[in-house]
Symmetry: C2
Subunit: 208 residues, 2 copies
Amino acid sequence: MKELSERSGVPVPSIKYYLREGLLDPGEATGATQARYDGRHVERLRLIRVLREIGDVPVARIAAVVRAVEDESLPLQDLLATAHHALGPEPPEGQPSTTRGEVLGHLRAAGWDISTKAPALDVLAAALDALRTMWGPDVGPEVFDRYAAAAFDIASTELDSVDATGGRSATVQQIIVGTVVFEQALVALRRLAQEHHSHRRFASGDAG
Amino acid sequence: MKELSERSGVPVPSIKYYLREGLLDPGEATGATQARYDGRHVERLRLIRVLREIGDVPVARIAAVVRAVEDESLPLQDLLATAHHALGPEPPEGQPSTTRGEVLGHLRAAGWDISTKAPALDVLAAALDALRTMWGPDVGPEVFDRYAAAAFDIASTELDSVDATGGRSATVQQIIVGTVVFEQALVALRRLAQEHHSHRRFASGDAG
DNA sequence: CTGATTGGATAGTTTCACTATCCAATCGAG
DNA sequence: CTCGATTGGATAGTGAAACTATCCAATCAG
């Protein structure tokens, strides 16, 4: 375990913690006080750290993703759905708002083929509710249209670039990493682009 | 205060907490055990809740934004920069990575007019570092090009829609809300679009 | 005058992700 | 075989963040 810690850069107590929480399967025991770990453990630890540090995904969700990946009987389709749901935010407690149905209807009318229970719908509905409490009730789901169009194109090229020939676990890893790290990148780039355009408009000239 | 609580939907102890943390200025005291709050307090509480619940912005950062807004001597330009920085994530400790300079150079080469110290650069650099640890060192900043193009367009239409005629605090409020709620919306829409395209490609037919 | 209420200060709670301590078993040197 | 050091695993403790609850003195209503 000490060696695993050195090879992955993760402290031993943290590895123990991840083991307890089921994020990492135990190495092959070679005696009561010794276990053997391999390259897959190093890989897994790297994945865990990326999800934690870049994506800020809670440990409990990482565990859910990992369980789905380990379950070989789960079809790839369901696995991807599980990963997507686990990487998303907690749906708000309480019964679904009418806003939720509103945004779902709007997207479906635009031709989007999405599940009724996607957690991202709750996020979107919450965002629309927030806009309504700030700007008044006559804000509709169409405020998101520009964003939806951009998201549609981005996701299309993302899915095009998924390489399913590398086997199940490689594909899932691609999706997971893609979902969380490119999300952070997209958000960061939007902020930077806002700064750029803001300089252009209210410009006082210097950029640094 | 009880009335303020009822009008805003925020529990009295939470209002006291926000008062302590400087997110809300005290009402006009009408005696040692009474204070008068007005509509601006209700507005402010709504803003705080949106930032906390939708944007998951830490209380300390909300306080920083609020202080900048209250400081009437701060030019709008600086105010917007402060808000942007405060709403972004904490830059990682330690000296800046070389990756950071790499992404900054790449974006500047593409004509982006951005500050050297934008915290979003740290996020972007961390994302690129993560990709390199997972996929190997020959990944360059150009992996983000598609996202950068999308972000550029989105930010452009966003800045176009900023209405600066409503006064300083209204403008800032627009920027703040726009930054955090449309960010959540964009992220949610990307996930939904991924689901849509995923159905289209690996389709098994039903959509939930 | 008196009993309930209020604003403000202080202390406690909960959750999360670790981090440190213990402990019994075992590995290695002699 | 013996004995001290080390290891994996279980248990307990830590620190940050955002509330939440309790106290307390002052005051408002009747």
